[in-house]
Symmetry: C3
Subunit: 211 residues, 3 copies
Amino acid sequence: MFLFGDLANIEVVDVIEFLGTIAFAISGIRLASAKRFDWFGAIVVGFVTAVGGGTLRDLLLDVPVFWMQASRYIWCTVFAFVFVLFFRKFLVHLNNTIFWFDCIGLGLFVVVGYEKALALDYPVWVCVSMATITGIFGGIIRDILINEIPIIFTQELYAVACILGGILFGILHYAEVDLLIIEVATAIFVVVIRVWATYYKIRLPILKGED
Amino acid sequence: MFLFGDLANIEVVDVIEFLGTIAFAISGIRLASAKRFDWFGAIVVGFVTAVGGGTLRDLLLDVPVFWMQASRYIWCTVFAFVFVLFFRKFLVHLNNTIFWFDCIGLGLFVVVGYEKALALDYPVWVCVSMATITGIFGGIIRDILINEIPIIFTQELYAVACILGGILFGILHYAEVDLLIIEVATAIFVVVIRVWATYYKIRLPILKGED
Amino acid sequence: MFLFGDLANIEVVDVIEFLGTIAFAISGIRLASAKRFDWFGAIVVGFVTAVGGGTLRDLLLDVPVFWMQASRYIWCTVFAFVFVLFFRKFLVHLNNTIFWFDCIGLGLFVVVGYEKALALDYPVWVCVSMATITGIFGGIIRDILINEIPIIFTQELYAVACILGGILFGILHYAEVDLLIIEVATAIFVVVIRVWATYYKIRLPILKGED
């Protein structure tokens, strides 16, 4: 029972990480293709979208960069590329599914980012920063590479979902809730905010009037 | 008297750092707003403008990233955002004041950048590089994020002021001048060059004529 | 004889590194000038083009950043700038020569990148990644700074040459071939692929057809 629970737990996290990485990579590959990048360019942009946030986080925390410790992130990106290559005509019909993978991946990235900073005894605001950077920075580099203004800065509560998820993690951790519950609650919270904001097109206001 | 002098000294440096950080953040927030970034996007661009140079410096020097050691840089950015939010219609009239804060902040950033490299026993040219990176890199990332060519590369002696300030620091340090005097002299030197170059619209020449 | 061989060896590698650094810097300086960057801007873009890939590699590997250990990379960039400044009208006629320097530099960068990761006992795929990053990332930052889509993602087998060179290094190293032979074979292999792909305009296909 214990073994099974443990195994099941590992599998679920792994599957979520795979799905999240693939969803992030697909978004990079599609946008790069729309800009007429070649195959390699598309793979690079996909990979950077998937691992860029975690890479900056690890550099800032001065810990080993996560994707250099295991080759699965590169394989996930290559898989995403092959998938887009063969099924690109059907991708439009999968937009909804990919959106869900993307949201679930974001929830996981926020949890992983928070925990990496927490393990180094950083205060809450650094943990929240690292959770947010893990979630959004890959998309920012993606948009810089394809020479567009980062969509993250105008999209429906993307970064705000990361920040609020991080704050929830901090509150629950302060209240000494069981870690597994915190992780699940944070990830679900991030997903709910993203889905809710996207469905109702909720956005942050824009600063204006200076002209 | 000693205590008071010490306190006064700390306060002056702190106030300068606050003003510099706020001035840099305001420049990022205004430019992001002009590109219709949402509130969060504006705060991120403001923060990156203020801390981007120091972050790259600390990564290159492999020392703990400065803004992760104290939350005041984030608070300065949030303050700058609230300030722009409420007073944006009057900001045009404050352009002169903000310009002075920006110059003074730049002078301080150059001094801090130089000293961080010096403390690790790097040679003069590395110290000057770190001083310059601290001063200019935040503005470069700001302009990349808003998808513009970095204005630093065409502006009135911005980077040159950093380099000359760094060289002055190196000369005075070699001449074993008292550290406090070096710091003040370097910062004032940077401010004077910037103000002078802006007032008389002094720019570096442009390479041309190849085609 | 041994001493002479040793000396000759060092000299050859040094000369190749100089030529490669200068060729990379020249490409950055020319593109920056075409965008009306001032002298300093051109030098920065040239420097970043030459050292950007190695800098990211060293940050990812968490080793001292190479150009902070020796001032020759900055001098090479300044030399490249002075060269462009005085001979820019003749540069068009030197395009072929500069292209060769660029290819030879790329071959060397791939070898250096692979060996840096190998010295830290990283697996083959990390070594290949570091070889590729060393070769291509400088050009990517260059194109981000001048606000263009990175040409690397559409150019003739630029990154592919790095990857294939890295894989060849890995195979020869696995076969326990003498290191000097591996280095020379890898560098020549990279140069040959680049020259061949450029001559016959061989490119990777583009992903398309989604819309």
